[in-house]
Symmetry: D2
Subunit: 94 residues, 4 copies
């Protein structure tokens, strides 16, 4: 299980990109992933192969309607503890 | 007003870094910023100078107790719309 | 053709992680990719599927010998111009 | 001494953003920093306060001529070794 964060940013489509972020979210929903939209990226939890496929499909989906896209994927994987969004957030409660 | 995301990661202090993330969160609370912890980073909203000072202080606070720290700051600033965590999240509701 | 940047960072293996970065570079060399190591990440140029496979394999290779790994992949893809490391660097020569 | 990477990306100014990257590079040159442009961001080496000021000024300079800018700053600081671009690149030579 991996926790990840994805951003998909089209360049040149105007300062407002929310419609493209929504396209990406619609792609993530097709996969077996837990999805938590945050204000600076979408956090995902699930199998690494699912996350890689979802990342590629969301990037391609946005590029389909645009000219240039810069996308980023950050993954956090560990072998010593259950790796979930919930556990990570609980661990930092102050 | 700027929306930002910060990560502060010490290298070499073990796979568990939540105590350092909590140190960073305690630093952010000292500033006039809205704080939303996410599973892959802390989202902040506020004045850019406040965010830059909070970023530097949190990074230095964690480095104080460790040997090496890799920290990242991502900022999103726009002139055409009110830039808040709330507005960004509402814009992508599907 | 895509230009990308990858970072692979193990947590808890000490402040020095160059041996792990070298493992990742050895993985990238197995793929049909142009490779430019930079001081804050490895820049790659090539087919997106090759880059995704190389990213996954490098991440898993480092995780094999460690407990926790945070890896990031940033990709830049455009349809209007040839997308290469060389063209990007030439475009910003000052 | 800190090694850092900066990206400054305006949204909505077209797919070509090299003129804005060049503006950012002109800002960095005003500071006492070593500058290494890479294809996915600009690597800098120098004092942390200089880097933070250069980052803020470059971001504001690009926002001056545009509507929305997403900028990122990643810093790597360590206490056990001399932290330079050159040492980092030499450590990963394969």
């Amino acid at each position: 299980m991996v926790v990840a964060e994805i951003t998909i940013i089209p360049l040149g489509e105007g300062p407002s990109v929310s419609k493209y972020v929504k396209k990406a979210l619609e792609v993530f929903k097709k996969y077996n992933l837990k999805i938590e939209p945050c204000a600076m990226g979408t956090v995902l939890e699930g199998d690494l192969d699912e996350i890689l496929k979802a990342f590629k499909e969301a990037h391609k989906e946005v590029l389909n309607d645009t000219t240039r896209v810069v996308s980023s994927l950050k993954i956090d994987e560990r072998k010593d503890k259950e790796n979930t969004i919930e556990r990570k957030l609980n661990a930092i409660k102050i």
